[in-house]
């Protein structure tokens, strides 16, 4: 399903994400990697859980606020998949981000901003593999199903 190209909104949205990551690094000395923050909440040090919970609370609270104030912003134009597939995809994301040490935020935004070669390689890898997986699902599996 085609979606509108939104360069200006996306650029400003990205700038907000960068601002959030900068604040967390400058004031707390922490990397704003969502997968790592969530991972540390599940199996990290108990002393370290407070700020992780606070960050994720703010993230989810922001989602609730956006839903209340601008419901149109959270509409999805993706074709809905069975719950089982979505759960399996989420598990794969968790496995991959723990194995790769980061996600789009930790490697893609924070890592590349720090000029980390490791993050650059990770980002290129998951973008390419993501594009391959998308091709398979969108043009082979879903086309075959309809």
């Amino acid at each position: 399903m085609p979606v509108a190209f939104t360069p200006i909104a996306s650029l400003f949205g990205g700038a907000l994400i960068g601002l959030s990551a900068s604040a967390l690094l400058a004031l707390n000395g922490r990397i704003a990697g969502i997968s790592g923050i969530l991972g540390g909440l599940v199996n990290g040090d108990a002393l370290d859980r407070g700020w992780r919970a606070a960050f994720l609370g703010g993230l989810l609270g922001g989602g609730v606020l956006v839903t209340l104030l601008f419901p149109a912003a959270l509409q999805s134009s993706a074709s809905s998949l069975p719950v089982g597939i979505t759960v399996a995809a989420g598990l794969l994301v968790g496995l991959g981000t723990q194995l790769g040490g980061g996600c789009t935020s930790g490697h893609g935004v924070c890592g590349i901003s720090r000029l980390s070669k490791r993050s650059l390689v990770a980002t290129m890898t998951f973008m390419v593999v993501g594009a391959l997986a998308t091709f398979l699902v969108q043009h082979v599996v879903l086309r075959g199903a309809t």
């Binding site: 996306s10 400003f12 990205g14 601002l19 199996n43 703010g58 956006v66 912003a73 134009s77």
Partner: protein, 103 residues
């Protein structure tokens, strides 16, 4: 407490950024990755904006601050090396309970 307030506000701003950029719509993420379909390069603008701001703020110190932070933590616990990566340095674990940046 102050640290948790900073973290919560950072999370809030992050959420607004995701929503404004359109990344809360799975269709837009799929459209970015679907290079052979109706390609939507918006996500590249999100990353561009985020990286530009995070690279520049808080000023030219951004990169050196984080380098110092990483180096100062290097003697504690290190995360495991990537399984394919003898050429990568082992980064400090995210799971350390103390932050030495401001000590």
């Amino acid at each position: 407490v102050r640290r948790n307030v900073v973290a919560a506000l950072a999370g809030l701003v992050f959420a607004f950024g995701l929503a404004l950029s359109g990344m809360t719509n799975p269709g837009k993420v799929i459209a970015f990755l679907d290079v052979t379909g109706a390609w939507d390069p918006s996500l590249a603008f999100v990353m561009g904006g985020a990286i530009a701001v995070h690279f520049l703020i808080p000023g030219p110190l951004s990169v050196s601050t984080s380098s110092i932070w990483l180096l100062s933590r290097g003697s504690t616990r290190s995360r495991t090396r990537p399984f394919a990566g003898v050429n990568f340095i082992a980064l400090p674990s995210r799971f350390d309970s103390t932050c030495t940046m401001r000590s």
